[in-house]
């Protein structure tokens, strides 16, 4: 469609092909993510995530022993994430919320890709 347009010199450079490549790379990632979501739903991939970090392990160990601190942290994380829930939280929820918030804040592209992948999964299902 844009073939018949006259484009000022320099204007087209930052559109079109580079963006197309970026968009295609994002599409591939979304496809992979949607496939991974399917694998988790089928039970082919575990729903748990683990990582090695002594300081975080110590922090969560201590939170397990100090419920007031844990509940306060859960409440703060829920407020930041806009979650309206006043039930008792646990360490798993806290970690989950913190990771979600981190994804949204630091790597919105990943959070966006994940949202697209979930939509894609829903569309694939119906």
């Amino acid at each position: 469609m844009s073939d018949d347009l006259k484009i000022p010199e320099g204007m087209a450079d930052d559109r079109g092909s580079t963006l197309d490549e970026e968009a295609k790379a994002t599409d591939r990632f979304v496809d992979d993510l949607a496939a991974a979501l399917g694998a988790v739903e089928r039970g082919d991939v575990a729903k748990t995530v683990s990582f090695r970090d002594g300081r975080t392990a110590a922090l969560f160990n201590a939170l397990g022993e100090n419920d007031n601190e844990l509940q306060q942290a859960v409440e703060d994380a829920r407020a930041a994430a806009g979650v309206d829930d006043d039930s008792e939280g646990d360490r798993s929820e806290l970690l989950r919320l913190l990771v979600r918030l981190g994804l949204n804040e630091v790597t919105p592209r990943l959070a966006d890709a994940e949202k697209q992948a979930r939509m894609q999964r829903i569309e694939d299902d119906y």
Binding site: S2, L5, D14, G16
Partner: protein, 285 residues
């Protein structure tokens, strides 16, 4: 003089896109011709709301996406228009939806606009590009222009604030949103004093409202006493149908058999649209 407004709150999930789409649709129902501009991110939620997402994504995949919304932020945009004529450019930029309102959808290219404008030293150039586009090319063609802004304080959304000046905040009945709305009102004062623009918090619309619950009624009272002149005449009822319609790629105005809550929400959008015209003027009046 067209009615211009931007839907904005610094928090996600309050229904900014739904509000933009439904207010636009309500203004159309009232006989006004308008265009919606989606600055809210490349997920193109407004295009989804009007069932145009696939067509737009196909255009991007086929390389038929130039010019697009990111192009209007380019300092050579006017030159592009001069070289090709205004109609040729606007025809490619603006999509006609099935619901009577026009749409300039979001584009992945918007992602890089913030970085590009960050290097522009002149403040009017940096924050005023969308305003210039709206005033030069859209104002004479439409009765109203509504802009859906992302919930972030960055250069592209600020362009939306400069272009629209009137801000609409959809809010839920919660303490976090209440604080955010108060913050927005303070920010608007800063926009006025720092930038010398005529920004105003023109309408606060309670969204996903569940009448009859103590919490909602309490918050309604707090909002009304705090934002008295800016409150919308009607809150928007919480309705599963709004979600269903959105997922089906339409607004609730297109539902043949709306639920009671959807019918109530529809009336509320119409009442709020009428009030918006009353408050802001324009819209072909």
């Amino acid at each position: 003089m067209a009615l211009k407004a931007a839907v904005f709150l610094d928090k996600g999930g309050t229904g900014k896109t739904t509000t933009t789409a439904h207010l636009g649709r309500a203004l159309t129902e009232l006989g006004h011709e308008g265009v919606l501009i989606d600055l809210a991110g490349k997920q193109s939620d407004l295009a989804k709301q009007f069932g145009m997402y696939e067509a737009q994504q196909q255009a991007i995949a086929d390389g038929e996406d130039f010019p697009n919304l990111s192009s209007v932020f380019d300092d050579d945009f006017d030159k592009l228009v001069q070289m090709n004529g205004v109609d040729a450019i606007l025809d490619r930029l603006i999509y006609e939806t099935d619901e009577g309102v026009d749409l300039i959808p979001a584009h992945p290219g918007l992602d890089s606009v913030d970085g590009e404008l960050n290097n522009v030293e002149d403040r009017t150039e940096r924050y005023g590009r969308l305003k210039k586009f709206v005033e030069t090319y859209l104002e004479d063609r439409y009765d109203f222009i509504l802009i859906d802004l992302p919930g972030l304080s960055r250069i592209v959304p600020y362009n939306g604030v400069w272009a629209a000046e009137n801000l609409i905040a959809p809010v839920e009945m919660g303490s976090y949103e209440f604080a955010q709305t108060k913050q927005l009102r303070d920010d608007v004062e800063k926009y006025r004093s720092n930038w010398g623009i005529d920004a105003e918090l023109s309408m606060v619309i309670p969204n996903k409202f569940e009448s009859g619950t103590n919490l909602a009624d309490d918050y309604m009272e707090r909002y009304t006493s705090e934002f008295n002149g800016a409150m919308s005449p009607d809150p928007i009822a919480k309705s599963q149908d709004i979600r269903n319609a959105t997922e089906a790629g339409m607004t609730i105005f297109e539902l043949e058999e709306p639920s009671t809550t959807a019918a109530r929400a529809r009336e509320a959008y119409l009442a709020n649209a009428r009030e918006l015209v009353e408050r802001l003027g324009g819209a072909g009046q």
